[in-house]
Amino acid sequence: MNRLTIELPGLSLKNPVMPASGCFGFGREFSQLYDLSTLGAIMIKATTEEPRYGNPTPRVAETPAGMLNAIGLQNPGLEKVIANELEWLKQFDVPIIANVAGSQTEDYVAVAKEISRAANVHALELNISCPNVKTGGIAFGTVPETAKELTKRVKEVSEVPVYVKLSPNVTNIVEIAKAVEDGGADGITMINTLIGMRIDVKTARPVLSNRTGGLSGPAVKPVAIRMVYEVSQNTNLPIIGMGGISTVEDIIEFYLAGADAVAVGTANFVNPFVCPELIEQLDGYLEEHHIDHISDLKGRSWK
């Protein structure tokens, strides 16, 4: 499958398809369904310094061609993630991208420092875009100067390349992308979820107990494509694109827009076998269309 190999900072990928953070846990459940070594990489669930329960339920709601979630960064905490989850993941031949979250700079730094030392963590994904926590998260992702500063601080301590995950809930995403580039980011992952809400007309209350949540799935793909298109033309950083991918054509569209690899989120809930299926179909698609290598498609919509 030579057409699919991708080299990115810290990451030698067999193929450019990986599950998106928060949509795959730490891989245990999916390992019962297929061999995780078939994946390009795995973006594990956001890890914070301390264990977090997250928000009260209901935490998910459906919307037209999309879903809202307000999990609230539930995770067992840095120590357990390293000792149990990353350790367990070592049995697979797949690079891990560790999603790092926190409420303040120190939290991010602490998690980044430790987790980047785990042998199978090949890159960090700095989550400055989670809309479902009250402090930190998205706050870091909406102010260029803050985003830059945080990137810098994390870069100082990280043993592996740092990708910054951008929020689509901003006026000017290029500005944020450039700021994290200035801050020393090695790559960008985008997009996180759009902030949305649903109200139950029967009860007159928000469906999610957190009231607002993050919108993902096919509905948001046009927004993601537009942002990848803009950012890829205005920074030199590699981009792992995501937002609404569920078919091979969606992957191609992200490549044409300017992505270097892709992540699949919500679609894992709809079809838990979607990642290996897409990897196989992607290879077939390239063969059928006489494309020598997937990266030939990068940015073709603007080149």
Partner: protein, 259 residues
């Protein structure tokens, strides 16, 4: 093992007002070994509704490679399901979760099965298995009203059966717990499935020394990966402990989960 299969509808019948009984056939049935587990399904491959729907397994017929579900057509997902006819396909992921431990009830003992509304279906396969093991079953089934009631005959064929309806249009007027109290029902073990408020009341009954309850929550993945369906354990000093209803449950020992 969890599998995903396009299963074939062999029967679809409206058995009560908006309540459908659907039977599906396919190799996935070979994996179904326990009552109280559920399937996560999608009527078609369209993007609306996007997510799968969790539905309990109500009856397993391994020899025919068939299983039956009973569901209420409410929103987009279940209404799409209700449009299916014999011969159509349904995308099924399952079997998921942990079911009712049948062997906790010993032969000769009595089990009290308490179900409310669309919580009744999983108790049917449970009751069949308990009876097959020589356990005596007493069933208490609660419904909104007569029109919404189903499977009362089928349960009666397996053991003593009480029905409660909120409006009194069938059986006793009131809730399942009223029936248990009124008839002073006692058993060695209880099993219950229904709305959380009902389960809470059931846990407070003193009808059996121990029991199991099956919980519901909105789900994303259904397999334990998305953290959509968590609940708090009853005992949790840290405040961050959790149980996932889809993969640790949906059945839990009574008292284990903070309701």
């Amino acid at each position: 093992m969890i599998q995903k299969e396009l299963m074939t509808v062999t029967n679809q019948t409206e058995i009560a007002h908006n309540i459908y009984e659907m039977t599906l056939q396919g190799a996935l049935v070979d994996q179904m070994n326990e009552p109280g587990r559920f399937v996560h399904l999608k009527a078609g491959d369209e993007m609306i509704p996007l997510l799968r729907r969790p539905i309990s397994i109500a009856r397993i017929e391994p020899e025919k490679q068939e299983f039956t579900m009973i569901y209420r057509a409410e929103g987009a997902g279940t209404n799409a399901l209700a449009k299916k006819r014999a011969g159509d396909k349904v995308d099924v992921l399952g079997p998921l979760g942990h079911g009712f431990p049948v062997d906790e009830a010993k032969p000769g003992q009595t089990a009290l099965l308490i179900g409310g509304g669309i919580g009744v279906p999983p108790l049917y396969e449970l009751s069949r298995r308990l009876n097959a093991n020589g356990v005596k079953t007493i069933h208490v089934l609660g419904f909104q009203n007569k029109e919404a009631a189903f499977y009362t005959e089928q349960f009666l064929a397996l053991g003593e059966t009480y029905v409660a309806t909120v409006d009194g249009s069938l059986g006793e007027q009131g809730f399942v717990t009223d029936v248990v109290n009124k008839f002073s029902l006692k058993a060695d073990i209880f099993y219950s499935c229904g709305p959380t408020l009902m389960l809470k009341a059931v846990e407070q009954l003193q009808a059996a020394p121990s029991g199991y309850i099956s919980l519901e929550e909105r789900m994303g993945c259904g397999i334990g990966a998305c953290f959509a369906c968590v609940c708090h354990p009853a005992q949790d000093k840290s405040g961050t402990a959790y149980l996932k209803i889809c993969s640790d449950g949906p059945v839990f020992p009574a008292g284990e989960v903070a309701l």
